[in-house]
């Protein structure tokens, strides 16, 4: 089968990338700062791709993604630090609780559309942050100490599974149903698609992987504080998705890599950092108003003479 051949070649490519980087890291050829940037990149890719399924695929304009990142971070940190669980279990529990939070937020708020949904999700994210801020068990405003356990291996396979699951979801009747909701909700409904169900499913999947990202994030920086999960963080994630091109998975991955690299590089110039970062955003939006990739995927560029259409 041709399709499975494509899949295996992608898998091989991914494993080669993983192995090369892992080899360089174990050979002490990668500086600590670069390692840290790679892990941050992976976290941002996971966040971008998980928001892509909500905004890019299903067309639900949610700007409270940092709230689910916070749930994943705090719940996994509680699991490892307070309950002494292994890191993998903590990631899973953090992700599942984030997905449940997604359901809890999504079921009432996904009745809203457009601007109203954006405001509601922003509000929910702030509620989640304030809740953690006021629980002394997790350290309140001072934050919570977390041991460093995130490695390149966790970060890489986190990204790999996120992309695999979301691309599998998108390239199925369920993903098509979500795109139909994005394109025309009334027509989708009239064609027999339970629009509420698919909005909530997309939201839950997005929250789940935001939770995974949160768990890896929490175990990367020694400390987590509620201030890190404010609405500015939500906007950062939103920027990845919009800059990459709404509806393009590879676009959001590229944007996340690109912006993380720029942001890390500019840390050497603290005075002008935000000015240059903002200029880059303005320039991209001026010259590529539909984002870096538009709605295309990077794989489309290699398929000459074929366009559009989701394949199995």
């Amino acid at each position: 089968m041709k399709k499975s051949k494509v899949f295996w070649s992608y898998l091989a490519l991914a494993l080669v990338i993983y192995a090369v980087v892992q080899f360089l890291i174990s050979g002490n050829m990668v500086s600590y700062a670069s390692q840290n940037m790679l892990i941050t990149m992976c976290i941002n890719i996971m966040l971008a791709v998980s928001l892509h399924v909500v905004i890019g695929i299903t067309g639900q304009f949610s700007i409270g993604h940092a709230g689910f990142l916070a749930v994943g971070a705090y719940i996994s940190a509680i699991c490892t630090m307070k309950l002494g669980m292994p890191f993998v279990t903590a990631i899973l529990i953090g992700a599942v609780v984030a997905a449940l939070a997604g359901l809890l937020v999504g079921i009432p708020s996904l009745r809203l559309k457009g601007d109203y949904l954006a405001i509601a999700t922003l509000g929910f994210a702030e509620i989640i942050r304030i809740v953690f801020l006021n629980i002394d068990y997790v350290g309140g405003a001072a934050g919570m100490q977390v041991t460093h356990q995130s490695t390149w291996t966790y970060a890489f396979f986190g990204v790999f599974i996120t992309i695999l699951v979301i691309s599998n979801f998108t390239k199925s009747r369920h993903g098509r149903a979500c795109i139909a909701v994005r394109e025309d909700e009334i027509a989708a409904d009239a064609m027999g698609i339970n629009t509420t169900y698919y909005k909530v499913i997309a939201f839950a999947i997005g929250s789940f992987f935001a939770g995974v990202a949160g768990a890896i994030y929490a175990h990367n920086f020694y400390i987590i504080q509620p201030t890190a999960f404010g609405f500015l963080k939500s906007f950062d994630i939103l920027i990845f998705v919009v800059l990459g091109g709404l509806g393009s998975l590879s676009g959001s991955v590229i944007a996340a890599i690109f912006l993380t690299a720029i942001s890390t590089y500019l840390q050497g110039f603290p005075e002008t950092r935000m000015i240059i970062y903002s200029l880059v955003l303005i320039l991209v939006m001026l010259y590529r108003p539909k984002g870096l990739m538009g709605t295309k995927e990077i794989t489309d560029l290699f398929k000459f003479g074929k366009k559009g259409g989701t394949r199995i």
Partner: protein
């Protein structure tokens, strides 16, 4: 013959405005019926009530013996009523084939988890969807455009794709909202033949809103006429043509001196 669709005293009120009231319709299995009336008579509103877009404020809709008034649109579609839209509502950024596949969605069984983990049921389900959807594209002469984005199709083809998409949902009753709007006489003629063909092929019952009288009078067996939200006449095309109330609704009252 049994009544496939039975509408009793259907009405809807928007605030103080009674947009449609006391509409009674009966459609038997296999009939092709027209719904006509001047602009603003409530034809599309009636369609919207039959398909669940609006919940009727009074009256009953019985389809296949079951009450469907006020059900969500996707549930109505799964009961076997499918529709097209007056102002084309295709999924513009999806390919032609995917547009049809979306409508085929309700007939597929594989669930979200089987797709995420790529279980065998996912592959068999998707292959079946692809085959069925391609069959519809063939009937409508669109198979050559399967990978084209819907928004890039010429207007007449978009209209045809809308009908193909509606059929892919597997309806018993098809509601067509002005399928010939904006078409030239040749295209309208082709459309009439196509409608007659799919009706036989899929054993459909069809309710048709149309302003093109040639089309309505040419293919409908019975016609209902709405004016100001009320039914003013029903009967065969010949009866409708000579009905004074209908003439009055369309042309205005005769002035007597």
């Amino acid at each position: 013959m049994s009544a496939l669709l039975k509408v009793e005293n259907l009405g809807i009120q928007f605030g103080g405005l009674k947009a449609v009231q006391n509409v009674n319709l009966q459609m038997n299995q296999g009939e092709l019926i027209g719904l006509i009336g001047p602009n603003g008579a409530g034809k599309t509103t009636t369609f919207n009530m039959l398909t669940g877009v609006y919940a009727p404020t009074e009256g009953k809709v019985l389809f296949d013996g079951k009450s469907i008034g006020g059900l969500d649109p996707y549930k109505v579609t799964r009961q076997g009523i499918s529709r097209t839209f007056q102002n084309i509502r295709l999924f513009k950024e999806l390919s032609v084939l995917d547009n049809v596949k979306v409508a085929n969605h309700g007939l597929a069984k594989h669930n979200v988890l089987s797709s995420i983990f790529r279980l065998p049921s996912h592959f068999s389900g998707e292959v079946k969807m692809e085959e069925e959807s391609l069959a519809f594209l063939k009937i409508f002469g669109l198979e050559g455009f399967r990978d084209e984005l819907a928004k890039n199709l010429p207007y007449g083809m978009q209209r045809r794709l809308e009908i193909a998409r509606a059929l892919a949902a597997g309806p018993k009753l098809l509601l067509l909202d002005e399928p010939a709007a904006g078409m030239n006489p040749q295209e309208t003629h082709d459309l009439m033949e196509l409608i007659s063909f799919v009706r036989k092929e899929f054993n459909l019952t069809i309710l048709l809103i149309e302003h093109d009288m040639n089309l309505v009078m040419g293919i409908c067996e019975r016609i209902y006429v709405l004016d100001h939200g009320q039914l003013i006449a029903d009967g065969t095309p010949a009866e409708i043509r000579s009905n004074p109330k209908v003439i009055e609704a369309y042309l205005g009252e005769e002035v007597t001196e």
